[in-house]
C-alpha cells in the first residue's frame, strides 16, 4: 500500500471513531452521573504491596478514610514477594484499626489477590495498588453501577496524584483523555481496559470463573477481557476519582508501559476471538480493531517523523560544518499566501486536534479535575506520539526477541524466540 493511501485510510478510521465517540457522548450526556447505591453491598478492599515503603501508610489511610458503612467494609494488605524494605512493618501498625495484614512469600499481585479472594465473603472485591489514593466518596459513586446484575466490574477515573514534572503532566493529560474514552466505551459496552490500580469487581464472577491469572503480567487486562468474553458488562464511574503516583522518571515510565503493552499483546492474543467478533458488538467490530489500527499508524507516523527529523539534523550538520549559522535554515519558512498549502491531510489533522481537545475538556469537566493542564497538554500534543510509538515498538520487540524481564516480584519470560528455543530444546 502506498504511503498516501495508508495515510488516508488512517485518517478515515481516526475521524470515524472520533465522531462515533462524540456522538455516543452527546447521546448519553444525561446519563453521566452515577446511579446511586440501592442497597450497600459488603466490600473487600485488597492492597497488594511489594517494596512500597514510601506510600503504603498513606494508601492504607486513604482506604480507611473511604466513606462507607464500617460494618460492610474490610481491608486487606498483602505484602508479597519478601519486600526488602519496611512495607510489612509499617502495614502491621494498622492491625489495631482492624486492617488485616498478611505476608506472602510468593511474589505477584495476582497471587496476593487470589489469596484474599479465598478468604473473603464480601460481595464486592476491590483491588487497590499500594501507591494509590481514593476520594472519600469513591465507593458511593462507583458501586451503584452494580445495581445492574450484568455489571461485573466498575472502573473509576484515574488521575495523576502529583504533576511535578513534564512526565507526570503528560500522564495527567493521558489519564484524562483515557477517562473520556472509558466512559464512551462504557456506553458502547466495550470497556476493554480497567485500571489495575483501583477497580471494583463482583465477587461472584471470581467464584464462577476463577481468580486472577497469576501467569499474566497484567492480570487486570486479562480479567477485563475475560468479563467481556463471558458477555458481562463493565461500567465506568467518571465522577469517582482515584489518584495514583505516576512515574516521574522517563525510564520508570518506559518499563511500566512495556509491561502494560506486553500484557495487552498477550491478552489480545488470548482473547482474539472476543476482540474481533461481531458477536461482541462495538467491542469486536469497532473498538478493538480501531485500537489496533491506531497503534499501527501511530508507529508508522513516528517512523515518518523520525525520518524527517534525521533529514533536518543532517541539514543542520552540513550547515554547521560549512561554517554557517544553522539558524539560516529557518529562513526557508515562508508565511505569505502563495506558500500556504491546504490538503485533506492538514484539514483532517486540524479537525483531529479539535476533537481531541473537546474530549479532554469534557473529561476534565465531568471528573471535576482542577489540575493545571497547559504545559501538560502542550507536552502531550508534541511528545506523546513519540513516547507511545517507542513504548509500543519496545513492547513488540520484547514480545518477539526479549529474554527475561522482571516486573516487581514477577518474572516474565514469554517471548516468541525464547518459547521457540524452549520447544526446540525439548
Amino acid at each position: 500500500m502506498s504511503s498516501i493511501v495508508f495515510i488516508y485510510v488512517a485518517l478515515f478510521i481516526t475521524t470515524f471513531t472520533g465522531l462515533l465517540f462524540l456522538i455516543t457522548f452527546f447521546e448519553n450526556m444525561n446519563k453521566m452521573s452515577n446511579p446511586g447505591i440501592r442497597k450497600y453491598p459488603t466490600v473487600c478492599i485488597v492492597i497488594p504491596a511489594h517494596n512500597e515503603e514510601p506510600s503504603i501508610a498513606s494508601t492504607i489511610e486513604s482506604a480507611m478514610a473511604i466513606d462507607y458503612p464500617k460494618n460492610k467494609i474490610e481491608i486487606f494488605v498483602v505484602e508479597n514477594g519478601e519486600s526488602k524494605d519496611r512495607t510489612y512493618a509499617i502495614a502491621k501498625k494498622y492491625r489495631k484499626y482492624g486492617i488485616k495484614v498478611i505476608s506472602l512469600k510468593k511474589g505477584g499481585k495476582g497471587h496476593a489477590m487470589n489469596y484474599v479472594l479465598k478468604k473473603t465473603k464480601s460481595e464486592i472485591f476491590i483491588t487497590m495498588d499500594a501507591d494509590t489514593f481514593a476520594d472519600k466518596d469513591v465507593l458511593k459513586k462507583m458501586l451503584g453501577y452494580f445495581n445492574n446484575p450484568d455489571v461485573m466490574a466498575v472502573a473509576p477515573t484515574m488521575k495523576s496524584k502529583t504533576n511535578e514534572n513534564l512526565s507526570q503532566k503528560i500522564q495527567n493529560i493521558e489519564y484524562l483523555v483515557g477517562a473520556f474514552l472509558r466512559k464512551v466505551y462504557h456506553f458502547l459496552d466495550s470497556v476493554y481496559v480497567t485500571p489495575g490500580a483501583f477497580t471494583a469487581y463482583r465477587k461472584s464472577f471470581f467464584d464462577k470463573y476463577g481468580g486472577f491469572d497469576t501467569k499474566n503480567i497484567t492480570e487486570d487486562i486479562e480479567m477485563t477481557l475475560r468479563i467481556q468474553a463471558k458477555r458481562y458488562k463493565i461500567a465506568n464511574a467518571i465522577d469517582a476519582s482515584v489518584y495514583t503516583i505516576t512515574p516521574k522518571k522517563m525510564n520508570t515510565l518506559f518499563w511500566q508501559r512495556v509491561r502494560w503493552y506486553l500484557g495487552y499483546i498477550e491478552s489480545t492474543i488470548q482473547y482474539r476471538k472476543v476482540l474481533f467478533s461481531t458477536k461482541h458488538g462495538y467491542l469486536g467490530t469497532v473498538i478493538a480493531p480501531t485500537a489496533i489500527a491506531s497503534i499501527v499508524y501511530m508507529i508508522y507516523l513516528f517512523v515518518i517523523l523520525v525520518g524527517e527529523g534525521i533529514k533536518t539534523v543532517i541539514d543542520i550538520f552540513y550547515a554547521s560544518i560549512s561554517g554557517t549559522n544553522p539558524l539560516l535554515l529557518l529562513q526557508q519558512i515562508k508565511l505569505t499566501p502563495f506558500y500556504f498549502h491546504v490538503s485533506i491531510v492538514s484539514f483532517v489533522a486540524v479537525l483531529a486536534i479539535i476533537v481531541s481537545l473537546l474530549m479532554f475538556f469534557i473529561a476534565k469537566s465531568y471528573s471535576s479535575d482542577k489540575s493545571d493542564y497547559k504545559v501538560g497538554y502542550l507536552g502531550f500534543s508534541l511528545l506523546y506520539i513519540f513516547l507511545f510509538a517507542v513504548w509500543w515498538i519496545s513492547a513488540i520487540y520484547y514480545k518477539i526477541f526479549g529474554n527475561e524481564l522482571r516486573f516487581g516480584g514477577v518474572v516474565w519470560r514469554n517471548s516468541l524466540v525464547s518459547n521457540f528455543k524452549l520447544a526446540y530444546n525439548k
Binding site: 498549502h341 490538503s343 483532517v348
Partner: protein, 209 residues
C-alpha cells in the same frame, strides 16, 4: 441495536462529508496553486517582453537606471516562488518550463547588466550561483540562503541561480564557459569560486574584485 446502527451510520456519513469537504478544499487549493503557476508563467512572459523593450532602450538611453530596480525586485520574487514550487514537487513539467523561461530571463538580465557596466561606468557586481539537487549537494540549501542575505544587504549585487543539472542549452553554455565542475559554485564578477562560501566571505570577495 437499531439505535446503535444509526449512530454508526451518522458517524460514517459525517466522516464521508468531512473527507469530501477536505478533498474539495484540497483541490481548490491545488487549482489556485496551478493558477499561480499560470500567473507566474504569464508574468515571466510579460517581463521577457519588458526585457526586450529594455534592450531596445539600450540603443537610446541605456544609462537610465530607473526601470532596473522594479525588474530586479520581480526577478528575485520569481526566483523564490519558483524554488518553492520546485520543492513542493507538484506540476513538475509546468515548473520545468517555467524554470527554463526564468533562466533565460536571468541570462538576459546578466548580459544587460554587463552591458550597462561597460557602457555607463557603473559597477554592479554579478554573482552566478550554480547549485545541485539536495541529494548531490547538501550545502546548496544554506548556500542559497547565504546569498539571499548578501543580496538583502546590498541591492546593487545581482545574483543569478542556475541548476547545475539543467539540460537547458543557455545554462549548459554558462556551465561550460566557466568550467564548473562541482557545486555549490559561484562566479563573482567573472571569477569562478567552487565550494561553500559564507555571507562574509562572499562580501569580502566582492570587495576584493
Amino acid at each position: 441495536m437499531a439505535k446503535g446502527k444509526s449512530k454508526v451510520v451518522a458517524a460514517l456519513s459525517l466522516t464521508i462529508l468531512i473527507f469530501l469537504s477536505g478533498f474539495v478544499l484540497g483541490n481548490l487549493s491545488v487549482s489556485s496553486k496551478l493558477g499561480l503557476v499560470q500567473d507566474l508563467q504569464n508574468e515571466i512572459y510579460t517581463e521577457s517582453l519588458g526585457f526586450e523593450v529594455l534592450f531596445d532602450m539600450v540603443e537610446t538611453n541605456l544609462c537610465d537606471e530607473s526601470s532596473l530596480g522594479d525588474i530586479n525586485y520581480h526577478l528575485t520574487d520569481f526566483g523564490e516562488r519558483l524554488s518553492y514550487l520546485e520543492e513542493k514537487g507538484d506540476e513538475q513539467e509546468a515548473v520545468k518550463i517555467l524554470k527554463n523561461q526564468y533562466n533565460a530571463l536571468e541570462i538576459k538580465h546578466f548580459l544587460l547588466i554587463n552591458k550597462i557596466n561597460n557602457e555607463c561606468g557603473t559597477k554592479y557586481s554579478t554573482i552566478l550561483y550554480f547549485y545541485g539537487p539536495k541529494s548531490e549537494c547538501r550545502t546548496c540549501l544554506t548556500q542559497g540562503l547565504e546569498l539571499s542575505n548578501v543580496k538583502s544587504d546590498n541591492h546593487d549585487i545581482m545574483i543569478y541561480s542556475f541548476d547545475y543539472t539543467s539540460g537547458f542549452a543557455p545554462v549548459r553554455n554558462l556551465i561550460n564557459t566557466y568550467e564548473i565542475e562541482r557545486v555549490p559554485a559561484l562566479v563573482i564578477d567573472g571569477i569562478k569560486y567552487e565550494g561553500y562560501f559564507t555571507e562574509s566571505k562572499i562580501s569580502g570577495l566582492i570587495d576584493s574584485n
